[in-house]
Symmetry: C2
Subunit: 207 residues, 2 copies
Amino acid sequence: MARAKTAKPYHHGELREALVSAGRKLLEEKGVRGFTLRECARRASVSHAAPAHHFASIDDLLAEIATRGYHELTAAMSAEARRSGSDPAARLVGQGVGYMAFAAANPVLFQLMFSREANRFEAPALAEAAKSAYHLHREAVEAVIPQASGEVKERMVDFAWAAVHGFITLVLEGQLGERDSSRALKARGLAALSAMVEAVVRAGGEP
Amino acid sequence: MARAKTAKPYHHGELREALVSAGRKLLEEKGVRGFTLRECARRASVSHAAPAHHFASIDDLLAEIATRGYHELTAAMSAEARRSGSDPAARLVGQGVGYMAFAAANPVLFQLMFSREANRFEAPALAEAAKSAYHLHREAVEAVIPQASGEVKERMVDFAWAAVHGFITLVLEGQLGERDSSRALKARGLAALSAMVEAVVRAGGEP
DNA sequence: CTTCTAATCTTTACACTGCCAAGTCTCGGC
DNA sequence: GCCGAGACTTGGCAGTGTAAAGATTAGAAG
């Protein structure tokens, strides 16, 4: 029988993408505990069992969302680093700015990415995506202290990441006093980044 | 009618405590998403609706668990600081050790305490408990750099906490390479703490 | 163009969840 | 002894994840 043009087709066509996109919004709105497969399906205008053909389980969808988050995070970091010129220290600060901007724009996703919930469903693609972000950071730190020993470099890579990541985590959760986390990041983020880079330079320059 | 001694009494007696205790274990076992009110009730050998008389909702129970987590965290920090003697720098390192030990022993709870999920609870007692941990830390940092300006102190309080917190978060999630997070914390935790204190002392000593 | 297969989506079903309402039991004060 | 107030249970409802089976369609094979 002929179907009216406005009727929705039986096959969605890009359901996988639609689910990831809807899921991401839902995640930011309701948090990890409020995240629901059926609601994702609803927002994609599809039956509640449709997602099963694209994701084995709800954790599978969350893993995919987290993986894309890492890709976006990596992109944000390297884009901001590129904008910061060629000075290694400036580039490291730039990467940090990109890191913060992503976290501020996707706070719940950011926490999911760095939570046990994410790594639990062992997804190789997720681990891979996380690793590439790590390597980007490692190179940026090592470029700032090229003359330092391997041991010191190792420590400074950890230290720099920890300082930035910890700062963001605490701000996002409102632990550092400020109510508006986005404003707080802008206001104090650069100071935190500067302190971090300064500490790295000092530790790396004087053995 | 007379009841055998072995039969369980109709009134539990300490159900609230039992639920908190069971819930805490369940949380570490299954994660935030696997946490279930009915399973808590089951583990306390009680009907599924019993918890309602002690906690208004599942978030209420989670908030209570998180609140106690903060109390324990504060206790662990100050106990370890006390063990570290009177030198401010040593005490600050000690507090960090206590912080790390708590996080390593209760990784899921730790993440819950510092997650956006916890902010949705809107529990005054939770906020209060978090604040007291913050003040403990603030005092320890300020004691290391008593001559610094208020502005610098402020920044270093944030910086020190961020560095420690970030380090733990990354280790717990396995981002820093190591598989065994407990081992990684012991192996590299002290180095991270030393780097942090050193940076604070330098920034506070030279205006 | 027809046919057939595989992929996509829907319907139905089941065990589970949080929470609400209405009962049952037991303790503590009168 | 009684009786009210809590503490707890049973039963029920809407919502969840996911498994099974049927409906629909796209796209290849003929």
